[in-house]
Symmetry: C2
Subunit: 344 residues, 2 copies
């Protein structure tokens, strides 16, 4: 594919959108903002952390002396429970009440850890708690979508370094999930196979964007990646939600999460910031055969631990844009060790 | 509209997307990242600035001794000229070459200024140069879209405080413009009026989201705003592109740009960062009667000069989310003086 070193655009069939790629632009000298590196060694227990075991939370409650994971309802939730669906639209001013709930999941009682520093065993516990939560939230009749995600690093708006993620469960299907539901269902109806099943086949044949894999999952940079080192974890088997995972797949998923995040930390030898999100079928009672579970990392860093990619003017008003190709980024990540730099 | 203080979602008819609004969430204490405030008084000419008159640029050329505005081709452009349209797609890996050019527009030779500190006269010069550039770029047959924007402040990825904006002109229509073209054309075909004409009528009647206005333009917080203090400038008259502006409208546009940006600086008594973008019809030769010119500001600050809104995990994987309502934000901006805090 010769055009790879010239500006071009690539199509994302999951979102039905394009990304502009400018491979030559990495030569641009950077004179702008640099970020701080957070490299202090943290204690395993911080008395002032509201997520550590036994401590008091902002809402006044006390955390139990948990030993593995711990889940609670967010004291400052963006969504509130209820089941009204008040419609108060008028002409072009259309609005609708939204109900739901927000939860926080502590991945470990150890305040000093992050995902890449956790054992596969403890990561498997995280996978199991995600599964349990999805299962329980899906039971609530008015909940139509369960969004599981993690913001890591203060640059990603995360206000507490204690290893944790979030779940926002709500009464309607959000934009991004609605879009991916449409595209995947249309593909499935037409081809009787899932879009990501066919995509994964092409990627495995090509090889240039694959980073790592195990028996059940593949970690790669999607052809249409937007963020510089964006990655995606795709299960080899076509299933719709985390609740479909076998016990073996749970462990394999923990393993691939570890493999990817360790490479991330090794890239710039820092605690690599990102937002990560689980992408799965809505919980609206429909079958969604087209949905193919995947998990994505959107990390902002571009050139070093202190220089990030800004998604601003052109990107906000016109189109996402990236400076290095998915293939360059994949080659870099692939070449890195699967042993964390702090351990060796 | 009673539901305004409960979580709800609002619909953006221009992008066909929803935003989640959580008005009660401003009570959340903020323990996360704070930004630096850039409050140094800058000299009117900085010998090390590559945008100041007479200075050397990064590419080696010298800027002329310009006295008003100055336009040049970006030395590190994301788009390159040419006219090939090489298609190298294969199955689900779809890509296409993209050609175009990127320009930089210096708003003033005075290094110390920003838009809110410029006179209406010099802002009118900026409007005129935007118009001239749009006109000239539209002449290039392979250019199908001309995106005019400004990134202001290092927090918005801007690497030089010299007052300037950019233009990216390219061979295809970007995502956001394609979307707005579809929605506005569909509305126009159905109603024989532009979407924003009808919207503006509703807003003027309601009044709660209006910030300021003059004879030809209205500045408001759109009902479906995503960023905390996002604003939109809508012309009262329905036209498609900046080239349709009369001489009177040019001055009135400069005036409303000044009014909005002065209020922004007054809000947190700082040089208010934002990305601003001109939204107008593509230059692909079609008539686009539905398109109604507008200009938007997306500013990241939420609570103060140092605390911004992070569009991260949930927002990236699911749906944009905001903490204060458009009405609250409009009330705050409306109550501020139209005289810059530094001048009084
Ligand atoms: O072109 P600049 O100012 O160097 O760069 C800035 O604006 C561009 C257009 O929005 C972005 O792609 C860059 O990430 C940002 O740093
Ligand atoms: O919920 P937190 O961690 O306080 O907040 C963080 O994640 C949320 C969900 O992505 C965002 O809405 C906030 O802007 C961000 O600061």
């Amino acid at each position: 594919m010769k055009a790879f070193d010239k500006p071009h655009k690539r199509y994302n069939p999951l979102t039905d959108e394009w990304v502009l790629v400018s491979p030559h632009r990495t030569k641009r000298p950077w004179q702008g903002k640099t970020e701080e590196v957070e490299e202090t060694r943290r204690p395993t227990h911080d008395p002032s952390c509201y997520l550590c075991a036994g401590n008091e939370r902002m809402g006044g409650q006390h955390n139990p002396m948990y030993e593995s994971t711990f889940v609670f309802q967010n004291d400052f939730a963006a969504l509130l429970e209820g089941n009204e669906q008040m419609e108060t639209s008028k002409g072009l001013l259309r609005m609708q009440e939204e109900t739901g709930l927000c939860k926080v999941i502590c991945f470990s009682p150890d305040h000093s850890l992050t995902m890449p520093e956790m054992t596969i065993e403890s990561l498997t516990e995280v996978v199991k708690v995600w599964k349990r939560e999805f299962e329980a939230l899906e039971q609530i009749s008015y909940i139509r979508n369960v969004q599981i995600f993690e913001n890591k690093g203060s640059i990603m708006g995360c206000s507490n370094p204690h290893p944790h993620g979030q779940i926002w469960a709500q009464s309607s299907v959000p934009n991004e999930i609605a879009r991916k539901t449409r595209t995947q269902q249309a593909y499935y109806v037409k081809h009787k196979r899932s879009l990501l099943e066919d995509y994964l086949e092409q990627e495995l044949e090509d090889g240039s964007r694959i980073i790592c894999r195990n028996e059940h999952f593949v970690g790669l940079i999607p052809f249409w990646a937007v963020w510089p080192y964006e990655t995606m974890i795709i299960p080899a088997r076509h299933f719709q939600a985390i609740t479909d995972m076998t016990i073996e797949e749970e462990v394999a998923f923990a393993d691939i999460l570890s493999k990817i995040t360790i490479r991330y930390d090794n890239l710039f030898k820092c605690s690599f910031p990102y937002s990560a999100g689980m992408q799965q079928r809505p919980t609206d009672g429909q079958s969604h055969e087209g949905w193919h579970f995947h998990y994505s990392f959107y990390p902002p860093l571009l050139r070093s631990a202190t220089v990030k990619k800004f998604m601003v003017g052109y990107e906000m008003f016109a189109n996402p844009q990236r400076d290095i190709t998915a293939e360059q980024a994949a080659e870099t990540l692939r070449s890195l060790s699967e042993k964390h730099y702090k351990n060796g």
